[in-house]
Subunit: 218 residues, 2 copies
């Protein structure tokens, strides 16, 4: 069975829809209109209807979308109706935070193995996962059928870790290091480097600050 | 002085250009072509020339861009040629990781104050910053002229923290909590919720996995 190709922009909005829908579900709200979703997400209702229409006819005129049905449908599209195992390399504060988040997550993505390159971290414990040396990566990824790798090492170590993930056959990488990584076409890489969001945020601050030279175009 | 309005997509690419240019500078590379940047960033060279042309004529035919000049120019556009003070609320593992990163950052964005709502965290130390109670937020933001707030609290506490940031006058918010936050138009909010990147990554995994039902469009 072949899926229609969904644009990257839509795929990236789906987790946001899912987040809002989960919140509605917790509040026991059973239906939602594209107008209501639009207000919550600061998106045009027409855009929302268009995005969701990719996956068939969900909405009903005058009633809106069934929240639970839409949750299930989006989870299915994002392939979250399966357990996806994840390995994390870099057992620092960020790695610890991610493992901790993961423990409470209802998503079917589970960090099931943690690795580090630094001997002093090997054998320590993060949320009941023992930090393992990189020499175990290949064996563990194969045994546990791990499909995604998370990189939470410093920037200068990140490409090396990515290379090892690629060698052992992970299909997707989530990179938190502030570095541009090169991966082959068949591996999908997403960046979660917060410094980008932080730096682009600065652009939108008011011009009142003590800017030494304005950003005018000549 | 008025700046030409730069599109959001370009503003979001500027930190990525900056990252690559900084890497080139460290490697003592003095000029770079749009072709070379394109390969590094997996972007069309024509797109790169167009993006950079927003800010005047940088490049020289046959020579390319002067790396250091472009770094300075982008820093100026992103207003990184000033010190921007940042407050963080949520002294957990993620907050700790961000403060630690910040300590080594060469960016002029500095986390200068950390807050938490939980009494047991107040008074503890993160990278030489003492965790303060939320009751001090208004005073500290005013005294230190803090302009950006980072939210690293659980999802159900995030809107409340955002409201407090807004009340005390921060201009921008970087939200790490997996929650959709509502802010007034004059406050800029960026999301750094990694779960979105992780969930959208699942979509791109190969179809070989044990998917119980395919994501086909009817």
């Amino acid at each position: 069975m072949k899926s229609a190709k969904i644009s990257e922009a839509v795929v990236r909005r789906l987790p946001i829809y899912l987040q809002v829908l989960n919140e509605l579900h917790i509040r026991e709200i059973q239906t939602v209109s594209s107008q209501e979703l639009g207000v919550k997400l600061d998106l045009n209702p027409a855009q929302i209807r268009k995005d969701l229409a990719y996956f068939g006819e969900f909405g009903r005129k005058g009633i809106g979308y069934d929240v639970l049905y839409l949750i299930e449908k989006i989870r299915q599209i994002l392939k979250l109706n399966q357990t996806i195992k994840v390995a994390l390399v870099g057992a620092g504060n960020l790695g610890r935070a991610l493992c901790n988040y993961n423990k409470y997550s209802k998503d079917n993505m589970q960090i099931t193995a943690v690795f580090d390159v630094h001997p002093e971290k090997i054998g320590t414990d993060i949320n009941n996962l023992v930090v393992q040396p990189m020499s175990e990566l290949e064996k563990v990824v194969a045994e546990q059928k791990i499909r995604i790798g998370i990189i939470t090492v410093p920037a200068h170590e990140a490409q090396n870790v990515a290379n090892q993930f690629i060698t052992v056959g992970v299909e997707g990488i989530l990179n938190f290091a502030p570095a541009i990584l090169r991966v082959p076409d068949e591996v999908r890489i997403h960046n979660a480097d917060f410094t980008r969001e932080l730096l682009s945020l600065a652009y939108y601050l008011n011009h009142e600050g003590d800017v030494s030279d304005d950003s005018a175009v000549d």
